[in-house]
Subunit: 256 residues, 2 copies
DNA sequence: CGTATCCTTGATGCCTCTCAAGACGGGTGG
DNA sequence: CCACCCGTCTTGAGAGGCATCAAGGATACG
């Protein structure tokens, strides 16, 4: 079997793509869940081979770079990954953080080359599903491409939210949105939604949110002053999810 | 036939999805091209029915709104459309402008409801391909879903560029990027790439680019002072594409 | 235990927003 | 055909949020 009973017990399983956690929650890695969702009768031996194709990246190592020929889709087992795009003059925009259980690199597969950079934020273990095997899977499992559309559709939704954040929100709203988003995704893995262990630096967060590193620090300090969160370096504890939610939506301060 | 010989002569046809103009350039409307690209042997009578499903929207009219059940994918024949998303507190972020020949509304089809608003910027004629018929097409034409993946992949690329623009670029870089992008897309239709007729207001542009309406005006004025462009209300003439390109990439002013 | 990296806080300045007022142009009705 | 009106565009003045520059402190790692 792909997942032991124990791991199945520990981790919430997304039953279908309509589950808000899909494709985040999974038993062993995202690709298993992806396949499971579309065809219970899938060739399990093939699947087994695919998900056994594991690899570990050290902090800072690149999973892939811009323009590199498409190699595989990645399902993160443990650790986390940062994706980014570049301007011609060398500026970098972080486009996303991907945590354990999530799929990555799907969106560039049609173009045959990667459209962004992916860098491990910490020691990260992934299942790499090679491109060619993926094609096999698509033939074997009729609904698979539809699932991929769904995942890409979710990604587009997220991008739209990011455009809104970058285009319209103020610093505090951005950081609150960021923390809540991470919290929600961690919760989908059965992890705590109020005690976050950030794997990225303040600088990375700032880059992602279109803010300077210093601004991120200042907002974090401000949140801590108001007891909305408690921090200790990269450990962040969310003490008031409701208030953070309000802030993220741009609802002005309402003292008591 | 779907397109008369005369119209075929007038307009450049994108031969495959690898054409940089795809899915922009098309003979009659995008959906025809989409189908043609994936299967020359497609059921033309079905296709014919689909593309005949035309409708015209007046300026300001909504093609669809957020949360509305998914109805159709839209191929714009003439005119232009603006898409936008909303914050909970009512702020609006324009996420894109769609011009004649482009496909729209593909990305929300998997979710069964629209994830954004679409509003006609001017009198706009579209082919509406109903959801159910689309499903038929998918069954008839094996490669169709792959093409959809490709289109969504392109959309994701564009979103990444927008995130970079909104997160890292300064006002002048944003506007230069915007003008050049529009120019490129118009060129794909055989229209002039240096004489643009904007269908959106300064306010719309500002919203899209994460700028205030006044800032857009000021930057336009500055560009005009430097003879990079000439404007007359919504008519914009690009006089120096190279310089605009340089500005859009953040290359600092280099006065001779 | 030294060093590099990351985090934090302060001071200063600038880019862009906001508020405001006027100009321009297109559309409409008399 | 003209005059009016309203939406859009433009420009100015002022304010403010955030970036930048700078320096010190904390933590992790070899």
């Amino acid at each position: 079997m792909l997942a032991t009973t124990s791991s199945l017990k520990r981790i919430k399983i997304a039953k279908s793509v309509d589950d808000p956690c899909f494709p985040i929650a999974c038993s062993d890695c995202g690709i298993y869940n992806l396949c499971k969702a579309v065809g219970g009768e899938a060739d399990l031996s093939l699947l087994n081979t695919l998900v056994k194709n594991r690899r570990t990246y050290k902090r800072g190592e690149h999973l892939f770079s811009v323009g590199e020929p498409y190699r595989a889709v990645f399902a993160i087992r443990t650790g986390s990954v940062e994706t980014s795009v570049l301007t011609d003059d060398g500026r970098v925009q972080v486009t996303g953080f991907h945590i354990a259980g999530e799929l990555m690199g799907l969106n560039s597969f049609v173009a045959n080359r990667y459209n962004c950079e992916a860098r491990a934020l910490e020691t990260t273990s992934v299942c790499e599903v090679p491109f060619e095997r993926y094609e096999e899977l698509v033939k074997t499992i009729p609904g698979l491409q539809h699932q991929m559309l769904k995942i890409m559709s979710m990604e587009i939704n997220h991008h739209q939210e990011m455009m809104l954040l970058l285009g319209k929100k103020r610093a505090e709203e951005r950081l609150a949105s960021f923390l809540l988003n991470l919290s929600r995704r961690l919760k989908c893995h059965g992890q705590s939604d109020s005690e976050l262990k950030l794997s990225m630096s303040r600088s990375d967060i700032g880059n992602y949110l279109g803010l300077a590193e210093e601004t991120v620090c200042r907002v974090i300090s401000r949140f801590e002053e108001e007891s909305l969160i408690s921090t200790q370096r990269r450990i962040v504890r969310l003490n008031n999810l409701d208030r953070l939610q309000a802030i993220s939506k741009g609802i002005p301060a309402n003292p008591k």
